[in-house]
């Protein structure tokens, strides 16, 4: 367990033509691309980075939808924190800290993919303890969460084990070594951060 917490296209359907209001489609300006790419843009209806008219990919020079890394500061900050701990060596805190394992940092990134959908006041902040384990924490008057990402026990096919202590609605909640597979959040954790 870590000792550090950081509380802080439209298809006709039998005579009916349905038209979706202008989703930010990047189809216009994509005519230089092969059919699969044009279709991809039509299906996706999302425009990537704002480019000039010189772009044959998506360039019409119009305002593009903001990318998540500019629209979601929390996610960008958490990902940057994880990245800052990649490839660090033991003793990174100037003392006897352990180097974080890549697989627990990977699992922490996967957790972010779910936590980002939680209400803002339930999104925990990430940190890495001197034991090298990533942890998430949130400390509010009515909500407390401290979650540690632990390496999986081989040969388990999960990506990590999660242990957390929480206080929600006055209730103390403790779960230990819950397998996390990456493709879904453990239901009890999902409920805890108000995702379900």
């Amino acid at each position: 367990m870590t000792a550090i917490a950081n509380p802080t296209a439209v298809s006709g359907v039998k005579g009916v033509l349905a038209v979706t209001p202008p989703a930010p489609t990047g189809a216009k300006g994509l005519t230089d691309l092969s059919t699969p790419f044009q279709l991809a843009a039509l299906v996706g209806g999302l425009r990537p980075t704002q480019l000039t008219q010189s772009s044959a990919w998506s360039g019409e020079g119009a305002q593009a939808a903001a990318n998540w890394f500019t629209s979601d500061a929390w996610l960008a900050e958490m990902l940057a924190t994880i990245r800052s701990f990649r490839n660090v060596e033991a003793g990174w805190d100037g003392e006897n800290s352990r180097a974080p394992a890549a697989e627990t940092l990977d699992a922490a990134e996967m957790l972010l993919a779910y936590f980002r959908n939680a209400p803002a006041d339930r999104r925990p902040a990430i940190n890495v303890g001197s034991d090298g384990l990533p942890s998430f924490a949130r400390n509010l008057r009515d909500f407390y969460l401290h979650l540690v990402v632990e390496p999986r026990n081989h040969p388990s096919n999960c990506v990590a084990h999660l242990t957390w202590y929480a206080i929600k609605d006055g209730e103390n909640i403790f779960e230990e070594s819950v397998p996390f597979y990456g493709t879904s959040l453990p239901p009890e954790l999902s409920k805890l951060v108000d995702l379900k």
Partner: protein, 262 residues
């Protein structure tokens, strides 16, 4: 000067998965599935309003309708950066908020799982497609721009004439090949363009792979095998294939920087 991948842990600007069916989903079934899906949306996801008009072929009369709640249906996450589309002959999942593969696949399965079960009882998947748009922004300007620090020298995916250009250029290529009993279409597009604002160089790399079933000369897959697990298995295989493809396009140092070689 160097290239910066567009986000911290990777360079993925957009990721999309599309499953196309051999024929249109029966209309009544499709409406039922969309209605059921609309009633049980994940938190933050909403159905995009659909305006429609009806054209009566027999009389030529055109009437307008409000939100008809029919297919094609589009669902959006609250920030609009993730979309789910349900059309008569395909479903797609498209996000600009890609973080990692497993959550992407898991959320796709969570959202479309029950819908897929319903669809696959009636029609079979004809193709499974996965595509990534990666972006790398140059830290300098056109005077010191050097694409060779991103794209491998003599890359077979880049036309030499295009690459020789001093300024903006783009190149596309695509091919079919046999992968297991499937016909796989691979497309690569590389584009050098200007970012709006500072007018600094940016490089976009679009990679797409699509596995098509029961194509003459490539092999057969029984309808029993074309189930939900088949789709997940194909997506996993395409994901691995696209990772390798991008590794073959960009220089090793960048591949390592964005975690492709981890």
């Amino acid at each position: 000067m160097t290239f910066d991948p567009i986000s911290s842990p990777h360079s993925i600007e957009r990721c999309a998965a599309t499953i196309t069916f051999s024929e249109n989903i029966p209309e009544k079934l499709a409406r039922t599935l969309v209605a059921d899906l609309s009633k049980a949306l994940p938190k933050g996801v909403s159905r995009a309003a659909t305006k429609a008009f009806k054209f009566d072929v027999a009389t030529g009369v055109v009437t307008t309708e409000g939100d008809i709640g029919e297919i094609p249906a589009t669902f959006k996450a609250a920030d609009g950066l993730t979309q789910f589309a349900f059309a008569p002959n395909f479903i797609s999942w498209n996000t600009q908020r890609y973080v990692r593969w497993k959550p992407f696949l898991g959320q796709l399965d969570e959202f479309f799982g029950s819908v897929l079960e319903g669809i696959l009882g009636s029609v079979s998947p004809q193709s499974v497609r996965l595509e990534y748009a990666d972006r790398f922004n140059w830290a300098g300007d056109w005077t010191n721009f050097d694409v060779n620090t991103l794209i491998k020298a003599n890359s077979p995916y880049v036309a030499p004439r295009a690459r020789a250009s001093d300024r903006q250029w783009h190149t596309h290529c695509g091919w079919f090949e046999k992968v297991e009993p499937f016909r796989r279409l691979t497309n690569v597009a590389v584009e050098v363009a200007d970012l709006v604002g500072p007018l600094t160089p940016t490089v976009g790399i679009l990679t797409m792979m699509q596995d098509e079933t029961n194509v003459a000369g490539f092999g057969n897959t029984s309808s029993d095998e074309l189930n939900r697990e088949f789709i997940v298995d194909r997506l996993e295989d395409l994901h691995q294939g696209l990772k390798k493809l991008l590794t073959d396009i960009i220089v090793p140092a960048m591949a390592q920087k964005i975690g492709l070689t981890a």
